[in-house]
Structures are given as structure tokens and as C-alpha cells.
């Protein structure tokens, strides 16, 4: 055998391997339209950025777990695409005139996924357990008692009026599960959970994928359409999109806005957007010498062009906002905000204790391309004020550690609500005594605190609206944080998938999704 022959053979082998692989290639997604209505059966493979690490609903807060928990457990009430409270497991609910007693009527024939009927005693057990465990999203309502009046009626009495109560109950952490964990231990139960939700956990890898099968006892007639749902972990943004385009995934969450143009131009892909409950903001550490000065914060707020930031970094998937309550949440007000006025910025800085400028470090979490760009825009915007900004990108866990220890000057972060009521947001971001210390800014304003408490006990209506308008205006004037924009929740799906669209909280109602067979 000559060298030439050997070389030729080797090259042939390489191409043979590729050809072999190509022969078993699957065809890409084709843009066929659906002729008939929803079809039953099939598997939805959904690409997510992180794995599910726990199903213990009372002890979780992060999205990777929350949006798996809400497939298995459901709350008494829920919210629609506008954030309005709607009946869910409770088909009807009433509030007493003194706003202290809430009565819930459970749906008749409601069953858990193992076929056992759901009773008010189960609901009572679930909520009592949440109260006992507390967790990162505790029930803040001043509950006096939870009573199962009869098998399908639950009565909850409060000590004092608490308007956000129904909103709280609609959260995933208040899902209903069997009393006494169906006779199993707590640990065993959450390893193989039973709930009323449309999906049942079949296989679960805390470092990888999770497989659900349809719940045959689900209370919504004919749903879920698909037979199984797989949560596939693809942590890289680009990879998720590429796998969707190649047909390996049926749908993906967390679609990076930068890739929207590429996806929207592709006929085999449909993109669905819905406003979210999040607001991207610049947060000041008000315990820092420079940022304790109100004039400095106001100067920086005037110096930043929020619309410019939105246009340059969100690719049409966000809207500029001037208040911490996004337009998707009740009582979001039109405030008089300090925006994009360089002359006013100079005046404010001149009135401050640092008229000649100073140095500060802007902290962001690394690996987030949009935030890196925003930080650079802010850096350039503050240069004319002689505020010398150094950008410090930190890996996510280090980032969290630093700001929670108040070891930062100012940072870009995201304020997120878990419920349709504005109280949660305001408390998290403006209560210095809460565990979040005003979103780690330590902003303390007795007037705001007073209004905050009033807002909780005032019934929905113009009076409550006025209270939150006032709070938002004070915050817009004091700017302990500068709201930038409200991003959309974006999901994308392939041609064979129908009905995949996000909820306001970012989750997806997979019982409404069907696959073309």
C-alpha cells in the first residue's frame, strides 16, 4: 500500500463517518399550517436555562423551580393575562363587607392526580404548612384562622383588612396538596409530588431534564392536549435558539431579545411576547457616602437617557418606564420623572456635596450581555458630570453575595413581582425593615412606610390608587433606584407547536399547548 493510498483511504473514512451521520439525519421543521383544531397526544420538548432542583413549593422562589412547581400544584385563585384575579381551584369566592372573611368554594369533583378527591381539609393543610414553614415567599397576610367549613368550603379569617390577600393566594407557593402529604413523609412526597395540576412528574434529574406526563384526572376537560412534557436543560442562550431552529426543541423560554430579528424572520418559528412583572433598574446603596446624597442620585437620574438605553439594548422587547411598578401591575402611575436633562443634571450635582464629581463602581453580573452594554451607556452618560464610573462584572453568586452584604456602590439589577398586587413590590423595594432592606439600598422614608401600610389595608378603588400614586411620586423624586425598562416575557416555538405563549409571570400554561402529529 502506498502512502497515497493510505492517505486516500483515511480521507474516505472521515467522509464516511460524516455520511453515516448524515444518513440518519432528521428533516428540519417544515412550515405546515394546522388544518384542524387541537390534536391530542405527542410530546412537547421545552428548552430551559436551568434545571429543576426542588418541588417543595413553600420553600422555593426562583423561576427554574417555580415554573415546574406550577405544573404540579395549583392555587385556589389565579390571574389572567392582564393580572386580574380569576377563579381557579376555587370556582367561586366571596369577601365579607368588613374585608376580614374570605370564603372559597372548591370545584366539585376536583381530584388529585392519583384520583383521590380534593377537599377543603387539603387546602387548609397546605396553607397551614406554608404558614409554618414561612419560606422565601411567606404568607404576609394577618391570618387569624383557616377553617374547612365543609368538604368543599374553606373559610379564612383575617385579623385586619389585607387587600393583597387574593393576589398572594394566586402565587405558585400557595398551591394545594394532599393533607398529611397523602400519608407519606415530607421528603418522599416532594420526591414524587401529587397535586391537582395538569402534569405529573415521571422522571426528575436535579441536574438535568425533567419529564412530565399528562394528568388523567385534570379538572379542565380534554386538557392537557399533549401526552408528555419534557423540560430540557440548555443553559446557553445561543444553543437554545440553535436547537429550536434545528428542530431539536419544540419551544424555548428566555429568548434573548438580540436574537428576535433572526427568529421573527424565520417562517418556521413563532415568537410570543407578553409584558412581564419585572423592571430593570439601577439601584443605589444609600449607605454609600456619595449616594446617600439625594442630589447626587437625582443628578444621575437626569443624566441618563432611559429611552436610549431601551432602544439600544432591548431590541423591541421592552418598554421604557419611569416607575418601579410596571404597567402590567395595578396602580402603575404616570409619574413626573427625572429623565434625560443634562443641564438639570449639572444643576443637581452642583447643589450636592460633590459638585466636582467623584469615582464610583457600577456592579453588574457577568455573562449578561445586555447589562454590560447598559453599564457602558451609563458610564458614558456620567462622564460629563465628572463622575468616573468603573464597571465591575461579577459572577452571579459573588454578585449576590456582595450586594446582600451592602458591599457595592451602585448596581444594575431587576425588580420582580411574584403577584399582581403592587404591595409586594413596594414592600420589597421600600421597606427598610423587611429582609430585603429596600432591595438592599437601605432607603428609609417614614412617609413611604406609612403610605405602604395604608395601601395594604385600603380596599381596591380610587383611594388606594391615590396612595400608590403618591408612593411612586415620592420614589421618583428621591430616586433610591432608577427604573429603566419593563422587559417582555418572550418564548418561541417551532412550526409543529401551537398555543405556546407566556403568562405575565413568565410561566407557560402547557395544558393549552398542542403538537401537530
Amino acid at each position: 500500500m502506498t502512502f497515497r493510498t493510505a492517505a486516500a483511504r483515511a480521507v474516505a473514512v472521515i467522509f464516511a463517518v460524516f455520511a453515516l451521520a448524515a444518513c440518519t439525519a432528521s428533516p428540519g421543521p417544515s412550515a405546515t399550517s394546522s388544518a384542524t383544531g387541537p390534536q391530542k397526544g405527542g410530546t412537547i420538548v421545552y428548552g430551559r436555562s436551568a434545571a429543576v432542583t426542588s418541588f417543595d413549593l413553600n420553600n422555593e422562589i426562583t423561576a427554574n423551580n417555580a415554573f415546574a412547581i406550577d405544573k404540579v400544584f395549583e392555587p385556589l385563585v389565579s390571574f389572567d393575562t392582564e393580572g386580574k384575579i380569576i377563579p381557579w381551584l376555587a370556582e367561586k369566592y366571596t369577601v365579607s363587607p368588613d374585608l376580614l372573611t374570605y370564603t372559597f368554594d372548591l370545584r366539585p369533583d376536583l381530584e388529585f392526580s392519583d384520583g383521590t378527591p380534593v377537599t377543603a381539609a387539603d387546602a387548609r393543610f397546605s396553607l397551614e404548612r406554608h404558614r409554618k414553614v414561612q419560606g422565601p415567599l411567606p404568607l404576609q397576610a394577618p391570618i387569624r384562622s383557616i377553617v374547612a367549613a365543609d368538604t368543599h368550603t374553606l373559610t379564612i379569617t383575617l385579623k385586619s383588612p389585607y387587600t393583597p390577600f387574593l393576589s398572594e393566594l394566586s402565587g405558585f407557593s400557595n398551591g394545594i396538596f394532599p393533607a398529611d402529604f397523602g400519608g407519606r413523609t415530607e421528603k418522599d412526597f416532594f420526591a414524587k409530588p401529587i397535586g391537582t395540576g395538569p402534569w405529573v412528574v415521571q422522571a426528575w434529574d436535579p441536574n438535568g431534564d425533567t419529564t412530565f406526563t399528562a394528568n388523567p384526572h385534570y379538572w379542565q376537560e380534554g386538557k392537557p392536549y399533549a401526552a408528555s412534557l419534557i423540560y430540557k436543560v440548555v443553559s446557553d442562550d445561543t444553543q437554545r435558539i440553535q436547537q429550536l431552529l434545528a428542530g431539536q426543541l419544540a419551544g424555548i423560554e428566555d429568548v434573548a431579545p438580540a436574537s428576535l430579528e433572526q427568529l421573527q424572520g424565520n417562517p418556521a418559528v413563532s415568537v410570543a411576547k407578553l409584558g412581564s412583572w419585572a423592571v430593570e433598574q439601577v439601584f443605589f446603596n444609600t449607605q454609600n457616602a456619595h449616594f446617600a446624597d439625594r442630589h447626587v442620585r437625582r443628578a444621575i437620574a437626569y443624566a441618563i437617557d432611559r429611552e436610549g438605553i431601551t432602544k439600544a439594548t432591548t431590541f423591541g422587547a421592552a418598554q421604557t418606564v419611569h416607575t418601579l411598578i410596571p404597567p402590567t401591575i395595578q396602580y402603575s402611575a404616570d409619574v413626573q420623572a427625572l429623565d434625560n436633562d443634562p443641564a438639570a443634571a449639572q444643576r443637581e450635582l452642583a447643589a450636592s456635596a460633590y459638585p466636582d464629581g467623584f469615582s464610583a463602581t457600577l456592579m453588574i453580573n457577568s455573562g449578561d450581555s445586555a447589562r454590560a452594554q447598559q453599564a457602558q451607556i451609563i458610564q458614558a452618560a456620567l462622564k460629563p458630570l465628572h463622575i468616573d464610573v468603573k464597571i465591575e462584572p461579577l459572577e452571579l453568586n459573588s454578585f449576590r453575595e456582595r450586594f446582600k452584604a451592602f458591599q457595592y456602590d451602585f448596581m444594575i439589577n431587576s425588580g420582580q413581582s411574584d403577584a399582581p398586587d403592587p404591595d409586594g413590590l413596594i414592600t420589597f423595594q421600600a421597606d427598610p425593615d423587611g429582609f430585603s432592606h429596600s432591595f438592599w439600598t437601605h432607603y428609609t422614608n417614614p412617609q413611604v412606610t406609612k403610605l405602604m401600610r395604608q395601601g395594604r389595608t385600603t380596599a381596591d378603588g380610587p383611594q388606594r390608587e391615590q396612595i400608590y400614586a403618591e408612593i411612586q411620586q415620592i420614589l421618583a423624586d428621591d430616586v433610591p433606584y432608577i427604573p429603566l425598562y419593563n422587559p417582555d416575557n418572550v418564548v418561541a416555538s417551532g412550526a409543529s407547536v401551537h398555543g405556546l405563549s407566556p403568562r405575565i409571570n413568565g410561566s407557560v400554561l402547557f395544558q393549552d399547548v398542542w403538537v401537530q402529529q
Binding site: 472521515i14 448524515a22 441536574n207 434545528a246 431539536q248 453568586n397
Partner: protein, 310 residues
């Protein structure tokens, strides 16, 4: 026999060294795993309680000792702080994929490097030789992730020949899923090997014994096999070294191609400060590298009797 004993003596300090280094290294990174597990609502009391439960409150020396005892006495390389799964199981579930990737990459590398080097050496000085010398140069200058992204675009997204990422479970999987990543790695690993092999071939082809063999009218393929055996020695060593580097370095390729291998697990466990998992992976990787080194030495000794005699 003496050789085996000597090799073991060399191996043990290496593994111990790596393990010790990793143990202390991972703990210099700021970030408390307990605080991370408990998340936003962590109070100091609950963090302290979790520290006790996970054994993180013990002095470093004790933690190290406990872990070493666990490894050598029970073969237990620890439990994940985050998911409470045994590390051995975690590593084992990922090892297959990474091993497959590495093996396939080595295969492609050899298939690429040997013919190219042969081609260049036998046409030394010609334009073909120049071409073969220039192409690897370009290959080395291209970052692996860059090459990977381009390959994904061409073969995966546009041509739909191969999966763009992940490890599938259909017909021909996971082999199909590993083709592009393995090829990307091979494109990066082969340039220095092509160079080395070509140099060695040129040296050997010039050597006296080859002229003698040819003069004795031995068939060309027999001469070739002699030539190749002699030329191969430094290149095999180089390949062994590159494989050793590769084993610890699949991280980037696994990220580009969304492969759930050891590299990806390593990155995520460092990010979440899951010490036992990081230690466990480092231990396993060190062992594998050491085994690969020994195998390389054995292969070299097989090829070159002069080394055996030494």
C-alpha cells in the same frame, strides 16, 4: 515489573497533589454554598444550621481528613451540597458522554494528522508540503468556540445534517451529537501533531536504516511501517499530552454544543460552590489523566525497543 512499581510511585504524588490543590483552591473563591442553597430568605441562624448539617463548620484540616478517609476507606467521594446526590453517581452519569467525546476527538485527530503528515513528508518541499504546513497554522489561531459556532451554523442550522447540540436519544445518537464537537476538537488538536509527525517522518526518511531497507528491496509497505513506528514516538507522546489537557478542558466545547458532560458539571459546580462535586471531578480527572499518561508511555515503549531497554 520494576517499571510498574516505578510508574505507581510517580502516579500517587501526582493524584494527591492535584486533589490537595483543588481542595484548597475551590475554597478561596468568595461565596458560601449554604447561603446560596438557602437563597434570598437566608437568616444567619439558618445558614449556621446548614453549615453544621453539611459539615462546613469544621476546621479545614478536619474536612480534608474526613473527605480523604471517605475516599480511601469507603470509596465514597462525597455528596453534593446542593442536591444531596452522591458525587460518584453524578460523575459516572456524565463521564460516558465526555469519554465518548474525547475518544471520538482522538480518532478524528489521528485520521486527520497521519495522512496529512505523510502527504507532506513524502512530498517535502513541494507546494503540497507548504499547503499542509500552512493549514494547521491557521487552525491553531482559531479559537475552538469560534470554529464550533461556525460548524453549527453550516452543518446544523443550514444543512440539517447533524444536531446542533445536546445529546439526543434517537437512532444513531449519541454518536451523531458528538460528531461536530469531536471534529471541532480534532481541528484544534491536530495542527501540532501534524507538525511533529511531519518533522519526525522527514528525519526518519533520511535515516540510514531506511536507505538500507530500501536497498534490500523490502516492499514499500514494510518500509513504511518501520518508518512510521520510528517517527511515531515523539508524536504519540505529544498526543498523550494533548489528550491529558483535553480531558480537563472539554468545558468550552461542551458549552458551545450544550453537551451535558463533565466539563459542564465542573463549571456549574464551581459556580454554585458545590465543593464535594468539584473535588470529586478533579480527583476523577486526575486519575484519568494519569492513566492516559501511563498508557502513552507503554505505547511508546512498545513502539521503540530502545526505550524499553533503557
Amino acid at each position: 515489573m520494576r517499571w510498574v512499581g516505578r510508574s505507581l510511585l510517580s502516579v500517587v504524588p501526582v493524584v494527591v497533589g492535584v486533589v490537595l490543590c483543588v481542595f484548597f483552591l475551590i475554597r478561596i473563591v468568595p461565596g458560601d454554598p449554604a447561603a446560596m442553597i438557602l437563597g434570598d430568605q437566608a437568616t444567619q441562624a439558618s445558614i449556621d444550621a446548614l453549615h453544621e448539617q453539611l459539615g462546613l463548620d469544621l476546621p479545614l484540616g478536619t474536612q480534608l481528613w474526613n473527605w480523604l478517609v471517605g475516599v480511601f476507606a469507603r470509596g465514597d467521594i462525597g455528596t453534593s451540597l446542593i442536591t444531596s446526590q452522591p458525587v460518584a453517581g453524578l460523575v459516572w452519569s456524565r463521564a460516558g458522554i465526555t469519554a465518548g467525546l474525547v475518544l471520538l476527538a482522538v480518532g478524528f485527530t489521528v485520521l486527520l494528522a497521519v495522512p496529512l503528515a505523510l502527504l507532506a513528508a513524502t512530498h517535502a518541499g513541494s507546494w503540497l508540503d507548504q499547503l499542509v504546513r500552512v493549514v494547521p497554522t491557521i487552525g491553531m489561531a482559531m479559537p475552538a468556540f469560534w470554529v464550533g459556532l461556525l460548524l453549527i451554523l453550516v452543518f446544523g442550522v443550514n444543512l440539517h445534517w447533524l444536531p446542533v447540540g445536546g445529546v439526543g436519544t434517537g437512532p444513531g445518537e449519541p454518536l451523531r451529537s458528538l460528531v461536530l464537537p469531536a471534529f471541532t476538537v480534532a481541528l484544534g488538536m491536530s495542527p501540532p501533531l501534524v507538525r511533529s509527525l511531519r518533522e519526525q517522518l522527514l528525519e526518519v526518511l533520511d535515516a540510514d536504516f531506511v536507505v538500507t531497507l530500501r536497498a534490500a528491496r523490502l516492499p514499500r509497505w514494510r518500509v513504511s511501517s518501520h518508518v512510521l513506528r520510528n517517527a511515531a514516538v515523539p508524536t504519540v507522546s505529544l498526543l498523550g499530552l494533548n489528550v491529558a489537557y483535553l480531558i480537563g478542558g472539554t468545558l468550552v466545547i461542551e458549552k458551545v454544543f450544550a453537551i451535558n458532560g463533565m466539563g459542564a458539571l465542573l463549571f456549574s459546580s464551581i459556580s454554585s460552590r458545590d465543593f464535594p462535586v468539584v473535588q470529586g471531578i478533579a480527583l476523577v480527572l486526575a486519575l484519568v489523566v494519569v492513566v492516559v499518561s501511563l498508557l502513552t508511555e507503554a505505547l511508546v515503549a512498545l513502539l521503540d525497543p530502545r526505550i524499553r531497554a533503557a
